[in-house]
């Protein structure tokens, strides 16, 4: 195996890792404010990707231009969904919440199947099929832009949570919702907004990475699983942890496929998850 090939695979893995990390971060946000383990996470992103497809087909709107639209659309979707659906169920316990999202997987997958059919579809964008060549590396622009934007968005999310009032309230709820309530924070409102932002981020993520993937209604679960893995390995609630875990998973998946074939590559993230849960149950950067 030449060093050149290893380098190429590593860079590829890092780029995928950045995208995984962003998806995991929105999952972390949703998890930390309400304790909701969202099994429909990847499906929301699939929905966004199909949304980008619909916008392209109907208005010839490029996915990158549609990204802000999808962000706001999905923010609203998330906000309303939290108020009407998630919150009442969460009141019955986090388990009920997780079960609800399993039901949502069913709904979303089949909604997409009904409306768009089961075919694999792709969304052309301005960047499709363009490569950045930095010898010896070749980087497809859609993946490069997607991963860079993922890093930028993660940084913005970090700043929002660390430096704004909203962020402080979110963190207060995460740490101790009873105390936060005593401090006069309107918990349900903050939760709904944070949930909205989490889903909105998925809308945005779907749009900026849609050029890299082929769409199929059942694609969501794979992303959910990857996000879960990254979130847990990074340590629940740790931003740096998620970024590092995303990179680890992306690179190990890529190198695993390169060195040992695709099946081993696919097994590696799960194996890492099991090992981390057993030996560092609170994740790489988790606090306890």
């Amino acid at each position: 195996m030449s060093g050149e090939v290893l380098l190429q695979a590593t860079v590829q893995g890092l780029q995928m890792g950045a995208i995984y990390a962003l998806i995991a971060l929105s999952m972390t946000l949703i998890f930390s404010v309400g304790g909701l383990l969202n099994f429909a996470h990847g499906d929301f992103m699939a929905l966004a990707m199909y949304g980008a497809l619909a916008l392209y087909q109907s208005f010839s709107l490029d996915a990158y231009a549609a990204a802000p639209l999808l962000f706001f659309g999905f923010f609203l979707l998330g906000f309303l969904m939290f108020r009407r659906l998630v919150q009442p169920v969460l009141a019955a316990g986090v388990l009920a919440g997780a079960q609800l999202t399993l039901g949502l997987v069913f709904v979303q997958e089949n909604f997409l199947l009904m409306v768009f059919g089961g075919d694999y579809l792709s969304v052309p964008t301005v960047l499709s099929n363009k490569n950045l060549v930095v010898p010896p590396l070749i980087m497809p622009w859609p993946l490069l832009v997607g991963s860079l934007l993922a890093v930028v968005l993660a940084a913005i999310l970090y700043v929002v949570l660390m430096r704004t009032d909203f962020g402080r309230q979110v963190r207060a709820i995460t740490q101790n919702s009873d105390a936060a309530a005593l401090m006069g924070i309107r918990i349900d409102r903050i939760q709904a907004i944070a949930f909205g932002i989490g889903i909105g981020l998925l809308g945005l993520t779907g749009a900026i990475i849609v050029a890299q993937f082929t769409l199929t209604p059942a694609m969501g679960l794979d992303f959910t699983l990857i996000a879960l893995i990254v979130m847990v390995i990074g340590g629940l609630g740790s931003f740096a942890g998620s970024m590092i875990a995303g990179a680890i998973i992306g690179v190990s998946e890529s190198l695993g496929s390169l060195l040992y074939g695709g099946t081993v590559g696919a097994m590696i993230p799960y194996a890492i998850l099991v090992l981390v849960l057993l030996f560092r149950p609170h994740g790489l950067m988790g606090e306890h």
Binding site: G35, L37, L85, P88, V89, A91, A92, G93, V94, L95, A96, A98, Q99, L100, L102, G103, L104, V105, F106, V107, E109, N110, F111, L112, L113, M114, G117, G118, P217, L225, L228, I229, V232, L236, T263, A266, M267, Y270, A271, L273, V274, L277, L278, P281, H282
Partner: protein, 332 residues
Amino acid sequence: MRETRLRSSAVLPWIAFLAVALAPLMMSSGWTNMAILTLLFVHLCIAWNLVGGIAGQFCIGHSLFLAAGAYTSTLLSIHLGISPWIGMFAGAALAAVIGVFIAWLSFRYELPPLSFALVTIALAMLGFLAISSIDFLGASRGLTLPVRGTPAMYQFRSDTTYYVVILIQVIIALALSMWLYHTKIGLYLRAVRDNERAAHAIGVPVLKYKMLAMAISAALTAFGGTFYAQYLQYVEPHTFAGINIVIQIILLTVVGGSGTVWGPVVGPLLLVPAGEWLRHSLGGSLPGVHLLIFGVLLVVVIRFAPDGLIGAFGRARQAWRFRRGVAEAATQ
């Protein structure tokens, strides 16, 4: 007075269940197949409910146990000519060992909530990928059981016999789950589910009981896996080791009312036929529409009755009793 009421409330559901369960014997064979599928899910839901409901540990790894039951009995039958009637116990034993091991791995330390779900989901995915690539297990193509056609080899000419077999399995599983529910094991498991710290304080060996719950649940699931494999006469990873079937089991149990005795019976008893009916009447029209309706139905039930239909029924009955009580008080 109280005693008789207790007894009637314990017997009535059985009568209702048996009436529904035995009805297909008198119907055409098309119904028998649906009834078999329904009862199979009742069986699997009862098994999952022991861990996921009664003990409150959200396990997504039951595909491993299903696969253990299906593959062990099938392989023993194909390679050694051992009857699946015997093979099913080997499968159950293997499943129980796997279950105990997973429980021990996951519960040794106090992990953050829902970690168990993640460990089991990861192990299930690993199991699926492994089974799909191992030639001896038939890899993705699966294994077809040779047609032997004798009851001694768990093969019957009539579907009704399969139906009777799964009905007996369900009755055993249900009786077991009812018995467990009120004995020390069930009481301890429910205490663990409700409040692990308090369970420690009253002397419940939490780890031991979680392992025990996993062992029983895994073994029961494996019996279901053996039946399913022998009924279909073939095994294949997507059906027997994929996490889709676990998600179905969980949702059916939740809709019925997880953690109760009758929830995992009611959920599949209502929803499996409903799902099949939807598929028959709508499946041919627009892809996915019947599953969409089914999914919406699930979400609506979870939204408005997070404790399931059994819970909702219980609340309705309490409200009715209360109202009757008020009325009686008023007339006196």
